[in-house]
């Protein structure tokens, strides 16, 4: 079995700060990490490799420094990696990104299974997995929380839905997107890190792929970002201070009055 795992390098959103005067995201000093939700996709691939035997490849599209993300995947135990990078790809929306990723995956040979994280923590769309499946004419199962069984031509999985879980079987080749419940991602090992240093990462640019150039990058993207702004907060908070015992009683009294006025408590 051959498994491709799609991963993305993202800014560490935990460290993202807003500039209070300009209202913009401060990118300086923000670390790049492997999208935390992609670690579960890598973990799923590694579990399949251990249980059923598989060749695993991490595939990432991004700027040249995204090679670090691919190396981290290898340090976790993934066998090989590919970086898809070209200035012409910059500004791609999810449609264009899936179009490019699908072409790259095709180029890398036959895969039985493609695994993606639920979504990336920067874009937060969760669209790439199903879009790659559609582009490659493969079936897909999303929000997979458990891998039940796998054989050469099918996988059986459980997926999370609003009010429970569904067990489904998917013919291979196919695309899975996985959620946190699939299992705690393992950490990179020292041996893995050494291997990551010596493993040659396949690099792919526009010239290496069969692509219609009018479908890629900012120009080829169906969607356009027209405005970016800071979410505005519009509530007047009535603040009461309860910093010592006497004040606590008064504050609670006021809160109860407020709750009655809003009909949270009966008056």
């Amino acid at each position: 079995m051959r498994i491709a795992v799609c991963i993305k390098q993202v800014p560490d959103t935990k460290s993202v700060k807003m500039d209070p005067t300009t209202g913009t995201v401060v990118r300086k000093g923000v670390q790049s990490i492997v999208n935390p939700l992609d670690l579960y996709a890598l973990e799923t691939a590694l579990q399949m490799k251990e249980t059923y035997g598989a060749e695993t490849v991490a595939v990432s599209m991004g700027p040249p420094q995204a090679i670090e993300a691919v190396k981290e995947a290898i340090a976790m135990g993934i066998d090989g990696g590919a970086l898809i990078s070209d200035r012409a790809f910059a500004g791609s929306d999810t449609w264009a990104t899936a179009y490019i990723l699908a072409a790259a995956i095709k180029q890398l040979g036959h895969f039985d299974l493609i695994i993606c994280g639920e979504r990336a923590t920067d874009g937060d769309t969760g669209q790439i997995g199903p879009e790659i499946a559609a582009e490659l004419d493969m079936p897909t199962v999303t929000y997979v929380n458990k891998l039940i069984a796998a054989e050469a031509k099918a996988v059986k999985v459980s997926r999370l839905v609003e009010d429970g879980a569904e067990e489904v079987a998917m013919e291979l080749p196919g695309v899975l997107t996985v959620v946190k419940e699939v299992g705690e991602p393992r950490l990179p090992t020292l041996r893995g890190k050494l291997k990551a240093k010596s493993t040659e990462i396949t690099s792919m640019a526009l010239k290496d792929l069969e692509l219609n150039t009018s479908y890629i990058g900012l120009k080829g993207s169906p969607t356009r970002v027209v405005k970016i702004f800071q979410p505005k907060v519009v509530r007047e908070c009535r603040k009461v201070y309860a910093e010592n015992e006497g004040m606590v009683e008064e504050a609670v009294e006021q809160l109860v009055g407020f709750l009655k006025s809003r009909e949270v408590l009966a008056s």
């Binding site: 199903p130 879980a165 504050a251 109860v256």
Partner: protein
């Protein structure tokens, strides 16, 4: 019925789901601005007749239904083929679906095949007056920024809408509308995914249905202090929710998580206890009707979205508050 605004209604076991009526609210607002008709598509099996009428009562001018055994459970390929059939036949300008487990799966599948743009998890929609284009606004980078997106050159303009980000459209009995039944498209008879079984959630816990929620943040300090929160929730008849930090520490289970990586909630009453108000959390609760917060830090961001706030130690504030609420109950 071409060039109209469409919503993707959902059904569960034949019953039209609430998200459909939220989407009608969105659709009605857009239709009022653009003058287009509002249509709903619905796929399933043994769909209740009354549900179709309800879609009309709540705002749809037309409902297109495909009812077939192959559509009993959500499967991406048959559902995609049905949606593509609607796209071919009616050429919608706009297609809105819920950002649900099925909507977030089938919409990207269809958008890719139909070669058009799709915006995920929108919280605001509008029509650009000069162009008539759909303006789709959504949070990005962990809710730190909002982005407005449009799809100028491809049709339909597609978006998934965050559940519970808007109320359901009210029912107006006797509203006129038509129901069109379409046969199952040939290609929709084929699926490479097989549905085996549904396992309902063991714990009947649905935070999103709760009208009142008490939410606990890191300020609770340790799991051993949680009974205090439960006592408050019980006194108020509220469900218990939590911030990501509380979930990450394993103090409460994931279904309790509110925020960008958890659930979006819009209860009538939201009580934040020891919640700092990280932007990711605010993104999942700030549309609640009444928001109250208790936090020891007067600068805590939660106060920015609260209607009423107590700046103080929650361990000092909650016991007398619970006492007062309980006493009020007895008097009542």
């Amino acid at each position: 019925m071409k060039n109209d605004i469409w919503i993707v209604a959902e059904q569960h076991q034949g019953k039209v789901a609430g998200i459909s009526f939220e989407l009608l609210t969105r659709g009605l607002a857009l239709a009022a601005k653009s003058g287009q008709k509002l249509c709903a598509m619905l796929f399933g099996h043994n769909i209740e007749e009354s549900g179709l009428q309800e879609l009309i009562d709540r705002g749809a001018d037309m409902v297109a239904v495909i009812d077939a055994p192959e559509l009993k459970n959500f499967l991406v390929e048959p559902y995609s083929q049905c949606m593509l059939e609607i796209l071919r036949k009616y050429e919608p300008q706009i297609v809105l679906a819920g950002a649900t487990s099925s909507g977030r799966t089938v919409l990207p599948y269809v958008a890719m095949t139909a070669h058009t743009g799709l915006t995920a998890d929108c919280t605001e929609l509008d029509i650009e007056p000069e162009s008539g284009l759909l303006l789709q606004t959504r949070p990005a980078i962990g809710g730190n920024i909002m982005a407005t997106i449009k799809c100028p050159d491809f049709r339909p303009q597609m978006a998934t809408i965050r559940p519970r980000s808007t109320p359901q459209a009210p029912r107006l009995a006797g509203r006129a509308g038509t129901i069109e039944r379409l046969p199952l498209p040939e290609k929709a008879k084929f699926s490479r995914v097989r549905f085996d079984r549904f396992i309902p959630e063991e714990e009947e816990f649905n935070l999103q249905d709760a009208e009142r929620i008490v939410v606990v943040g890191r300020g609770i300090k340790k799991a051993e202090n949680l009974p205090l929160i439960r006592e408050l929730a019980d006194a108020l008849g509220a469900a218990v929710g939590a911030t990501r930090e509380v979930i990450d520490r394993g103090w409460l289970s994931y279904p309790h998580q509110i925020g960008l990586s958890g659930k979006t909630v819009t209860p009538k009453f939201y009580f934040a206890v020891g919640v700092s108000g990280a932007i990711q959390h605010l993104a999942g609760m700030q549309t609640s009707e009444t928001i109250v917060a208790v936090n020891s830090d007067p600068e805590a961001q939660i106060f920015q979205v609260a209607d009423f706030g107590i700046v103080g130690n929650l361990f000092e504030v909650l016991p007398p508050l619970i006492e007062k609420i309980k006493r009020g109950e007895k008097a009542w």
